[in-house]
């Protein structure tokens, strides 16, 4: 053991030296072979990459360490938790127990939770796309000098707490809320219309919170489209609408797809909105985790469900970007 290390320590500089030599040789040979100024620049950058290979890692280190400490390690701990045995009364015991997973796979309630989550997240995403695209288009195409102000307006709601924004819907949709009060004042209804604590209000709240993400994503990709492309399509015989369909829409799809993915994942992972705006039956999968951990103090089951949600959303993101070919579309666009 000691011998090997000594050898390693000694041989390391030698190897480095040899490597450098080797690089220098290659360098010289290649310059001799094709020595134009342009080529020399390429060759130099090739040779330098070896010496500078460590630099990106150094630059990435803070992020990677933060991610490891705050994400990866806790998730691993969480994963081990899912094999603990729940003893009741908020106590559990380390073990290699598959009961939590078995419960998830056999209990239809959880499966219904997944289905409901997917459905509500999908509806939210589609609504966000339908509402967000025109808004993003208007901002991107606006001749308004201070476009940044329009974008600022979009981000403005983020300055108010998410909880307060969600709670504010109660004052709009509630029995004493703005809409019912107005309708009653106008004499159009005598009894308040129940608008809160149902699936509609949950979706409404989620759209409220997710729409800016969609608009920003679509906006960025619209902004990146060369205006001349539309002009070119027009001169080649397209009406404004046809040019939109042929050029603007397909070229903004990467942004739309990214926005959809983001909205779907954020919607499917949320639990506060259904908690505040939903009725007892309008729960999402996140609420099941919340209940397991906060209400029942059943950490092992909560950990299991969290892992399920993580795996499902991760898989969706992976499959999505694989089949939507996001990276491929981007590659086609970058010249």
């Amino acid at each position: 053991m000691r011998v090997t290390r000594a050898l390693n320590e000694k041989s390391l500089p030698i190897i480095r030296y040899q490597q450098l030599n080797c690089i220098a040789d290659r360098f010289a040979a290649r310059i001799a072979n094709n020595a134009s100024p342009k080529n020399i620049k390429n060759i130099m950058s090739d040779a330098l990459t070896v010496a500078e290979r460590r630099r990106p890692w150094l630059l990435l280190a803070p992020t990677l360490i933060t991610l490891a400490v705050l994400m990866v390690i806790p998730m691993i701990i969480m994963f081990t938790y899912s094999f603990h045995v729940y003893l009741g009364n908020g106590r559990d015991q380390p073990d290699f127990y598959l009961g939590n997973w078995a419960e998830f796979f056999t209990d239809g309630y959880y499966h219904y939770g997944i289905w409901q989550t997917a459905r509500i997240a999908a509806i939210t995403t589609v609504m966000c796309a339908l509402m967000g695209y025109p808004a993003a288009y208007c901002i991107a195409m606006s001749r308004f000098r201070r476009k940044w102000m329009l974008l600022l307006l979009l981000i403005l709601p983020f300055w108010i707490s998410f909880i307060i924004r969600t709670l504010s819907w109660i004052h709009i949709l509630g029995e004493q809320g703005a809409i019912n009060a107005t309708l009653r004042w106008l004499g159009l209804i005598s009894e308040p219309i129940p608008m809160l604590y149902n699936e509609g209000s949950v979706i409404m709240g989620m759209i409220h919170f997710l729409l800016p993400y969609m608009i920003l994503n679509v906006y960025v990709s619209l902004e990146g489209i060369d205006r001349n492309l539309v002009s070119a399509a027009r001169t080649l015989g397209c009406t404004a609408w046809q040019a939109f369909r042929e050029v603007t829409l397909p070229l903004s799809l990467p942004g739309l797809a990214a926005g959809c993915l983001l909205c779907f994942v954020l919607a499917a992972g949320s639990y506060v909105t259904p908690l505040i705006l939903g009725g007892p039956s309008n729960f999402l999968f996140g609420n099941l985790v919340f209940d397991a951990v906060m209400a029942e103090l059943n950490w092992p089951m909560g950990a299991t469900l969290s892992m399920v949600l993580l795996i499902l959303l991760g898989a969706i993101a992976a499959i999505y970007s694989r089949y939507m070919g996001l990276s491929r579309i981007y590659k086609g666009l970058s010249r």
Binding site: D226, L229, A232, A233, T235, G237, T239, G332, L333, S334
Partner: protein, 365 residues
Amino acid sequence: MTQGEPTVELRRVTLGYGGFIAVKDVDLTVPTGTFVTLLGPSGCGKTTILRAIAGLVPALGGEIIIKGRRVNDVPIHKRNIGLVFQNYALFPHKTVFDNVAFGLKYRGVDKAAIEKRVKRALDVVRLPGVESKLPSELSGGQQQRIALARAVVIEPDVLLLDEPLSALDANLREEMRVELKSIQRTLGITTIFVTHDQEEALALSDCVVVMDHGRIEQAGAPEEVYRWPASRFVADFLGQSNLLPGQIIDVANSGATVRLSGGGEILVRNGAGAQLGQAVETVIRAHRVMVRPPGHETGPNLFDGRVQSVAYLGGMAAYVIEGEIGVHAINTIDRQIFREGDRVQVSIAPEDCVLLDDKGLRIGH
């Protein structure tokens, strides 16, 4: 300039963006089959005029007429225009075939005919067999040719080219310039070309239109514009010129005599209309100032001088001459190149001088 029915006519056209007037009261006639170049410094409104012909910029005033039809109110897609953009503007998500076929598809051409015409267009631009590639897989010069193919395949009434060569490197540019001209000739397509490269303009065009600040300064055949600049701007912008201030001291049938402020008197042949005592500027092209050994020539406008500096340009040499007259000269080097300090004789043909009045406009002619 070739005679013929005009394909494009602008009549007192004014164009602008918001409150800003970019082009004012421009008249332009482009005869069928000709190659017309808009030349001018950056921001003078060249692109704006092209976009107006294509319908991308509305006319604030005046009339735009294509093939005898007033098109001011005709939407873009109903004008039959081929436009090649400065940055090519190929559709990045469509293959080369779909790019070139695009205009045909919207003209309702049937599939078989589209295929044939796309193939022929790609042959014309000498890029056969790239149909299934994406634009990003092509080099700059190739993309440029595809853009050209896409524009000509629809057989447009007029082909508009907005600095199509500016993104290419010098060698490729030269090559594409020749190719562009030959394609234009082969197809006999009326072309309006925009550039701020004067060499390109002079080399390619049947007619050069020199613009400045949204106005047309002069339009005419390349030799004519080069030789007879209509204004100080054209004289200064096109080629290298000596602009020598002076005063008319004699007017005769054979021409006018100018006393130059910098010393010397010069006989000018083309000065009909010049008034005695009028302050003028004499324009002499640097290429038309002949530098000779002393005592070499006889005739009018001979000046003794000394070579103050010389720059070797390959086949040419650029001299700065001081002495009786201070001028720049660019001469071919036939036998000898003069050195700094050499005594020389400068001769200027009276026919090669143009007089400008105090407003910078040409006198006479």
